[in-house]
């Protein structure tokens, strides 16, 4: 497969990302229907203040999946057992809703002391297991932190806060797998650097098989430094360790993508949609990343929505951020044009 073909595939994904978007009226229309289905007043602030615990809902509502009953295991039979993790996190949150009535029915036949004993025993076992897992992880982290190769030197704080330019340059569609190792690589860690480089190579599609091979070599080189153990734990790639820091990373490419979507929405005069994208960007990106661009786009979005007061406030933020912003020209002709000082 040629590099051009790989790039074309990546381009396809990028185009889809920008094209499949709802209209602002979709959000409003569905919200009103949701309200109707939940019952009048279900989404009022008073009920939300109680934690949104709405007990009444339309009986005609189609059955919402109860994952414990309907969701088969997501584990792939072809995957080695050591690589299949328990369904934690979101699935636990999304799926593990225990029906109190069914629990009480199922356990109703048991005497109260026995039930209490079972609950107590379960709690104790859970606690002990949790403690052991926590202790093992703490020891593992301590071992890693004391190893000389983990000591960082000369790391630019900015590069820790925002992924480095090299990490940002990873191609659009390769964000998920290749960004993490690159973003978390330490400057003095040659093995990790090799891994980052090879990830970049594989993302460009030029020599993916050789890149994977190099990544394996880098992983092998890194393994003795990170852990003296062997077996399944040592055979794991470096990804889990990198994943925590990686999940916080938000690179320039992603920020640009969200900004581009917001601007695309603006071109359609869809201020609500633009503001949604910008909210998403604000929530996920570091505060200073593309700050001026975000503020200008938000100002225009607020103008489109007719929210002049908010637009003025955003303009003030822009003035505070950079009174000489080159983007002020974009605000000419907008609802805050009169407030933009001419220099």
């Amino acid at each position: 497969m040629s590099e051009e073909e790989a790039l074309w595939a990546d381009e396809l994904l990028a185009r889809v990302r920008g094209a499949v978007e709802p209209h602002s009226e979709d959000a409003a229309r569905n919200l009103s229907r949701i309200e109707a289905r939940l019952g009048a007043g279900a989404l009022e602030p008073s009920s939300e203040a109680e934690g949104g615990a709405i007990s009444t809902h339309d009986a005609s509502e189609p059955p919402v999946p109860t994952p414990s009953a309907t969701r088969p295991s997501m584990a792939d039979p072809g995957e080695p057992a050591s690589r299949q993790g328990p369904a934690l996190g979101a699935l636990a949150n999304a799926g593990a809703r225990i029906d109190a009535s069914s629990v009480s029915t199922r356990w109703g036949g048991l005497a109260s002391p026995l039930r209490f004993g079972l609950v107590l025993a379960f709690g104790l076992v859970t606690g002990v297991v949790g403690y052991l897992i926590g202790r093992t992880e703490t020891q593992h982290e301590a071992r890693e932190n004391t190893h000389p190769s983990r000591v960082t030197s000369g790391v630019d704080p900015a590069s820790e806060r925002i992924p480095s330019a090299s990490a940002s340059s990873v191609s659009a569609s390769s964000a998920s797998s290749s960004r993490a190792p690159a973003a978390t690589a330490q400057p003095d860690d040659s093995a990790a650097r090799t891994l980052a480089d090879t990830s970049r190579e594989s993302s460009s599609g030029s020599s993916s098989s050789s890149a994977i091979g190099k990544a394996r070599v880098a992983r092998r080189a890194k393994r003795p430094a990170s852990s003296s153990g062997s077996g399944a734990a040592a055979a794991m790639p470096a990804a889990p360790a990198a994943s925590t820091a990686e999940s916080d990373a938000f690179d320039l490419r992603e920020a640009l993508e969200l900004l581009r979507r917001a601007e695309a929405a603006l071109r359609r005069a869809d201020g609500l949609q633009a503001r949604m994208w910008l909210d998403d960007l604000d929530r996920r990106a570091p505060a200073q990343l593309l700050l001026e661009e975000r503020l200008v786009t938000r100002t225009l979005a607020e103008c489109t929505l007719g929210d002049v007061a908010a637009a003025r406030q955003t303009l003030r933020q822009l003035e505070q951020a950079n009174p000489e912003s080159i983007y002020r020209a974009r605000l000419e002709g907008s609802c805050v044009a009169g407030l933009v000082p001419h220099r």
């Binding site: 499949v20 309907t70 328990p86």
Partner: protein, 183 residues
């Protein structure tokens, strides 16, 4: 401008135990859930119903949301379950034709021309994947969730996600190269 620490992320276990405001959640994540369901293969004719079902489920489960995962991955988990149920129901219902993954996008005024052509191609590939791989492809390669978030949403572990994303990207590139000249 919103602060970086979204109130939507405040679960019972976090420092701020303020309730999650449903409307704010909806405003912030409606587009994400709409796209996710669309990417996962929910036909446009059923999209409104599916989005509503998702948000009603989210509304009902919101008090149980413990903030252990990101709200986005939580919503994506609901979307995966919902899509699977819809798919299963569609397979059982003989009288209802199976949703064509292509019919929904043709003539869709939302899509720009280039994007629409790309979407038609990508949909074909997505439709050829099994449920798990489809979820990983959508989460990682289309929605840009991190491997950790994708792992949470699908219930797999992070190394598996890395492995499968790499394999999916390779498969997609080969598939796209083979179908490049298709109209």
């Amino acid at each position: 401008m919103q602060s970086e620490s979204s109130p939507a992320l405040a679960g019972p276990g976090s420092a701020s135990s303020a309730p999650l405001p449903f409307r704010e959640l909806y405003e912030n994540y409606f587009a994400f859930t709409w796209r996710s369901l669309r990417y996962l293969g929910v036909p446009e004719a059923q999209l409104d119903d599916a989005v509503q079902d998702l948000w009603i489920a989210a509304h009902r489960r919101l008090p149980d949301f413990q903030g252990r995962s990101d709200i986005k991955t939580w919503l994506f988990g609901i979307a995966i379950n919902l899509q699977r149920n819809l798919h299963r129901r569609a397979r059982r219902a003989v009288s209802v034709p199976l949703p064509s993954v292509l019919e929904s996008s043709v003539g869709d005024p939302l899509l720009e021309r280039e994007g629409q052509e790309a979407w038609v191609l990508v949909q074909k590939f997505v439709a050829s994947l099994d449920d798990v791989r489809r979820a990983i492809f959508v989460a990682s390669l289309l929605e840009g969730l991190s491997p950790a978030e994708t792992a949470e949403a699908t219930g797999l572990d992070v190394p598996t996600i890395y492995h499968r994303v790499r394999s999916l990207r390779q498969s997609f590139r080969q598939w796209a190269a083979a179908h490049r000249d298709e109209p």
